[in-house]
Amino acid sequence: MILLLAYCAVLFSFTSGLLALLSNQQQFLLALQHRFLKTPSAFIDHCLEEHHYPNFLRQVVFIALGLSGGFAVLAGLSVLISNTVVTDQIGLGLPWLPWHIRFDALSGFFFLIIGIAVGAVSLYGPGYVHHYKEKDHPFAVLGLFTGLFVTGMLLVLLADDAFVFMIAWELMSVASYFLVAFQHENSANRRAAFLYLLMAEVGALAIILAFGVLASFSDGFTFDALRHAQLSTTWASIAFGLAVLGFGMKAGIVPIHVWLPEAHPVAPSHISALMSGVMLKVAIYGLIRFSFDLLDKIQWQWGVVLLVIGTISALGGILYAMMQPNLKRLLAYSSVENIGIIFMVLGLAMIFLDNGHPELAALGFLAALFHAFNHALFKNLLFLGAGMIHQQTHELNIDMLGGLIKKMPQTSMVFLVGCMSISSLPLFNGFVSEWLAFQTALQVDVLDNGVLRSLIPVSAAALALTAALAAACFVKVFGLTFLGVPRSRHSEKAHEVKDKGMIAATTLLAGMCFLVGIFPSVIIRLINRVTGQLLNQTLANNNGLSWLWLAPVAPEQASYSPPLVLIGALIAGCVCYWYLRRDPDKAIRIGETWDCGFGGLTPRMQYTSSAFTMPFRRIFAKAWIIDEQVNKDMQGAMDQDVAAVHYALHIQDHSWPWVYQPLERGVNNLSKQVGRIQTGNIRTYLGYSFVTLLVLLWVIS
């Protein structure tokens, strides 16, 4: 039954993909109709009309997608609530290895995430894609690969043997590659797509090898067999390292993250939302499945590795994000940051697990999953919002926007919610998971190892720094995009999106961000099931999870009650509001902005993105490769008075010159050397085979 729901989710997403292929096929459909339907129904005729058809098809495809999302949510919830594990086999795959399917709490939880995201996207989609021209950007391609993409992600979660896992994984990668390359007429997209697929390939190979290590110590590729693989610590560590490499490449951890900010922004916005919000979570799922489920014994050193990687990614991600003027690139980088946070907490969980504190491990694990959930919510929200902005203003460069809060009130509202959640302000969901992360880190006292005892607090402080930087970053985003005065004609001309679906989708996500922030224990109880299944250990203080209170370890150690806080906030707010607004004769007077008496404030006088982040640029100068140029045009006698100033700022990741370019150069040089074999002279070729022959003869005798 539960499995049926899951299959429905997969099938519907697949169907939506196939349905998309029917675009531009209405002649064919008409033929079918005349063939089979004896009585022509008005409705079908109406649908198949020349100008209705594309719209109708779009609706159908996205409805199918939405159904798949809905079923995914249902399946996830039902498996989490019933707390069961269902397995199945499908007669595909290798002759001696049918596809093994397993649906447990962990998969269920991620089903939930995907389901919500896909549901929102399917609401949002029709309004967003209708402005693509069929000739340049055929809807068939977009719809087909969106469907396949979702199918792949869902299958990854269902997979129970290495083979089907890899197939689903690669399906996900390839489908999303086509989506990244969807608008392939500009070369940036092509380069991004290439880089993306390359990294996906390398990562996938690493994962295959990780499975291979396990498989070579066990019989068969099914996860059951792999679970019972008996390997030495060394081999286990090798497998873990490969897994971190493979899944981390997908998740976009520093320094192998560079493809991510290239690829995610160039896809259509609802796809970027799926990629950044959900696909990265699938990578997290893979890592969890591999290390917590398949590897029998966790080593605390692995935890340290994850902790360090995570810290670096979190800091690096947010620092890079801060410097981006392009909204979607910025969001992509902030995904790197959030993934980093998740890795940190997972690392903590591993450390506690190996040091014999499973209940704390459960806490960390829970924090990680909860943050994954929250990140899916608000990152989807933000990307969809960015899509709306782009649709209305045709502009993603923050420095060209501004003042949208008056033009697009609803969009600005939901976007504000997104920004507040992602910069982890209280009352919103981002804060709760961060709070849990801190609580986990603060339990360091129970450890004996001095190194860990000093390492973990430092990383906790790094987490604090990350949170603060994130707040700064998103102040910049919201402030420059929505507040102030429009910086370009585009943003002046902008107006609120018409399409109900887009508003509905974003509002839904925003509402969930808030509700989850107020009643986190609802979700946390679900995750508790997952920890129970995976680590055989739930929270130390399960009854600390009432709808009102959140006391994961012990009430006297730490407790947080969002509802009470909300009430308090309302009281305080209302009191002072009432007190100050009591007499109406002091209504507000509208005056013009204070311009120091000079007059003539122009929009160009406002702070821009690069201006806002200048202090950070100076303070953390080492974090980037900064190329900052100021050129003055001189004029007048002796060329002494400045006519115009040109300011150019170019910021680059360190990992380009340190990781990527060396590799590229290496391969090119190597192939150059190899090219010398092909001299073109036949006598040399004869010489090769002659020498080969002699060498071989000599070798064997």
């Binding site: 209280p426 430092v458 507040l483 009650s561 007077r589 006088m605 806002f612 202090p615």
Partner: protein
């Protein structure tokens, strides 16, 4: 009962905050041998501002008008968490110290947005600088506070404080470090010299002032009040965490009054120290701030490590 105490305490906080500001001014005037204004001057200012009609720029959006209320209530919420005269607050159970830091972040978030809202250069400058400083200050502060919470193995402030009380007078090197870190952070966060100058009116050196340049009337009053409250909050944190003696542990009137006197005494001493410091030290350049806060962070870290290695090592 203790809910009542909590509310009373909060109102005390809100009520006393301007007084502290006034007292600080008085101290500074004496130190700089000037004629001090009356202690109640801040109250008069606030009252005057509340009765004035606010002028709002035509560029401003709803966010600009709502922001002061949000900022003020966020700060008040922070105040509810911190034990002023008595420990064992129910409020500090519903929101622990991390949430308190969250409240500060909340207020700051909206303050910065408000600064950006009217679209002047000053607003942007102010909020950019404010976010910079605070994002550097936050980890240092958490470090300092974590030292306490790990000693008391709780993040619930009132429990932590009572834990310190129970232990009696123990000289902890970690606390020394943490105290200094917290003081440095407090100076930075409340925008005092040497980081920021609350009394400046030269726009280019402003940080906090630059953001609220556009505010007037009751909005300005709220924001001023919020910042005084913030100052007092930090003062109380320093005082009650590290010198908790005198704070009431039972809710008998005698104890409460005693606690009130104690905290007033502590705050007076603190503000005298602060005044002396502000008189002696000159305001530093904006881009020396990171060194200053880095030092604070270092102190916090040292505190943490000395706690882990010296005091709780096994």
């Amino acid at each position: 009962m203790n809910w009542l105490i909590a509310i009373l305490q909060t109102t005390l906080f809100v009520a006393l905050a301007p007084l502290l500001a006034g007292w600080l001014k008085v101290c500074k005037c004496y130190l700089q041998n000037r004629q001090p204004p009356s202690l109640l001057q801040p109250y008069r200012d606030l009252l005057k501002l509340t009765n004035k009609q606010p002028v709002v720029s035509e560029q401003a959006s709803w966010l600009f008008i709502k922001a002061p209320y949000i900022i003020f209530s966020a700060t008040v919420l922070a105040a509810t968490v911190v034990p002023l005269i008595a420990v064992d607050l129910p409020t500090s159970a519903s929101a622990d110290v991390i949430v308190m830091v969250g409240f500060f972040a909340f207020a700051r978030f909206f303050l910065a947005l408000a600064g950006l809202d009217v679209g002047t250069a000053f607003g942007g400058m102010g909020s950019s600088r404010e976010m910079t400083i605070s994002s550097l200050a936050e980890p240092a502060m958490l470090m300092a506070i974590f030292t306490l919470t790990m000693t008391a193995s709780t993040t619930n402030l009132s429990l932590a404080i009572s834990h310190v009380l129970e232990q009696g007078l123990v000289l902890r090197p970690s606390f020394v470090f943490a105290l200094f870190a917290l003081i440095l952070v407090a100076v930075a966060e409340t925008g005092r010299i040497p980081v920021d100058n609350p009394t400046t009116h030269l726009e280019l050196t402003m940080i906090h002032e630059a953001m609220i340049l556009e505010y007037s009337g009751r909005h300005l009053a709220l924001i001023e009040w919020a910042s005084q409250l913030k100052l007092m909050l930090y003062g109380v944190l320093c005082a009650n965490i590290f010198f908790p003696w005198g704070i009431a542990q039972t809710f008998s009137l005698h104890d409460l009054g005693y606690g009130l006197l104690a905290i007033i005494g502590k705050l007076m001493v603190l503000s005298i120290i602060l005044g002396i410091a502000e008189t002696l030290v000159a305001k530093m350049r904006l881009f020396r701030v990171q060194e200053y806060l880095g030092f604070a962070y270092l102190l916090g870290l040292l505190g943490m490590l000395s706690h882990i290695i010296l005091e709780a090592s096994r």
